[in-house]
């Protein structure tokens, strides 16, 4: 299974979910697949997309929140799984694109060389549902049930590493514009107030 194929399946099944993407490959592929402004694409804070998504999910308990994470980012702070499990946000689904390498910097190997079972770690942390999917047809078969199930859940998408740098370009905006596009998109879609009457 290739990362792009897996992300395309998620994008087709997304429905009304608000997405938070870890920086690098996960963010770039999600942007390529969805071109969505009601997604937040991390540009830094590697390892903390999960925490950002948790804060969003707790703040919008009736809105499905999907975290598109990657193995490199998850390993920056595995402790996030304990926090996620403890909060038991029913609207939060955590996907981990696991390619075993740091793809964005040219495919250098990840720590522990592909031996890590992230689903097992999540279950041990207290996630009620966690699984690993290794093939595209298996993902297509399982994704409706994953989408429908109660969170928190963690789904590892084991994909093949690409050779060298992944050339998928990043989203076409960044920094403060990312903040305002994302916040305004949520305001329009959900009828909430992110920014005050004077715009901050």
């Amino acid at each position: 299974m290739r990362a792009r194929e897996a992300i395309d399946v998620l994008a087709r099944q997304r429905g009304g979910a608000v997405a938070v993407c870890a920086l690098g490959m996960a963010a770039n592929e999600w942007w390529a697949a969805t071109k969505s402004e009601d997604s937040f694409y991390m540009h830094g804070a590697m390892g903390f997309a999960a925490s950002f998504a948790l804060g969003l999910a707790l703040s919008l308990p009736h809105v499905p929140v999907w975290l598109i994470n990657a193995d490199g980012s998850l390993c920056m702070n595995l402790g996030c799984l304990l926090t996620e499990a403890s909060q038991a946000a029913r609207n939060l689904k955590h996907f981990v694109v696991d390619n075993g390498v740091y793809q964005t910097v040219g495919g250098l190997p990840m720590v522990n060389g592909g031996r890590t079972d992230y689903a097992a770690i999540a279950r041990a942390a207290g996630f009620p549902r966690a699984r690993t999917i290794e093939a595209l047809d298996e993902l297509e078969r399982q994704i409706p049930a994953i989408t429908a199930e109660e969170g928190p859940s963690l789904t590892v998408l084991r994909v093949d590493p690409e050779k060298g740098f992944l050339r998928t370009p990043p989203m076409t905006y960044e920094g403060p514009e990312m903040k305002y596009r994302f916040g305004r998109a949520l305001e329009r879609r959900l009828g909430i107030e992110v920014f005050g009457p004077q715009g901050y």
Partner: protein, 170 residues
């Protein structure tokens, strides 16, 4: 922390409209954290690393929820990278309440480094901060929170030893 100070800070946080708190304790802010944890109107998230609290509050901002991160000064130092690459980069406000460890009346050798370096570090990042040293200044918290929103970046509210332990405490 004297209970009346924790109570006053809690009261001001409620006045700010805060409904989410994320924390990792040190002993100076622990009584405030436990007071907040007991408040059914505030969703309290215990985290495993301080930068999680920063990112949780940042995500909550986009849900339209007012949030606070509580931690010790050592914890603040551990999340300067995330404060820069998430909050500074995207101009996301995050309000932090932090114990001002390493002050001249904090005789813990393992806090010494934090004492003289933390504020110069915040100044280098251009993160605003305010030091609350006396109970009657706790009422400035809503102003600090509004300044954080307007400045669109991390804002650190320091609590001094004199405030949390009282005058002449050992």
């Amino acid at each position: 922390m004297a209970m009346d100070v924790a109570e006053r800070i809690h009261e001001q946080l409620t006045r700010c409209g805060i409904t989410l708190a994320a924390s990792l304790p040190d002993d100076w802010v622990a009584p405030l954290i436990e007071r907040i944890a007991a408040d059914n109107h505030i969703r309290h998230v215990r985290v495993a690393r301080e930068a999680e609290a920063v990112a949780i509050c940042s995500g909550a901002f986009f849900g339209g929820v007012r949030a606070v991160a509580l931690m010790g000064a050592t914890g603040l130092l551990t999340c300067t990278g995330e404060l820069a690459t998430l909050n500074l980069r995207h101009q996301i406000p995050v309000f932090l309440i932090v114990s001002q460890r390493g002050s001249i009346d904090d005789h813990r050798i393992y806090q010494e480094v934090q004492g003289r370096r933390t504020i110069p570090l915040l100044q280098a990042y251009d993160f605003p901060y305010h030091i609350i040293d006396r109970a009657d200044d706790v009422a400035s918290i809503p102003d600090a929170f509004e300044t954080c929103r307007m400045q669109k970046r991390p804002f650190v509210l320091f609590l001094t030893r004199r405030l949390v332990k009282g005058e002449g405490a050992s």
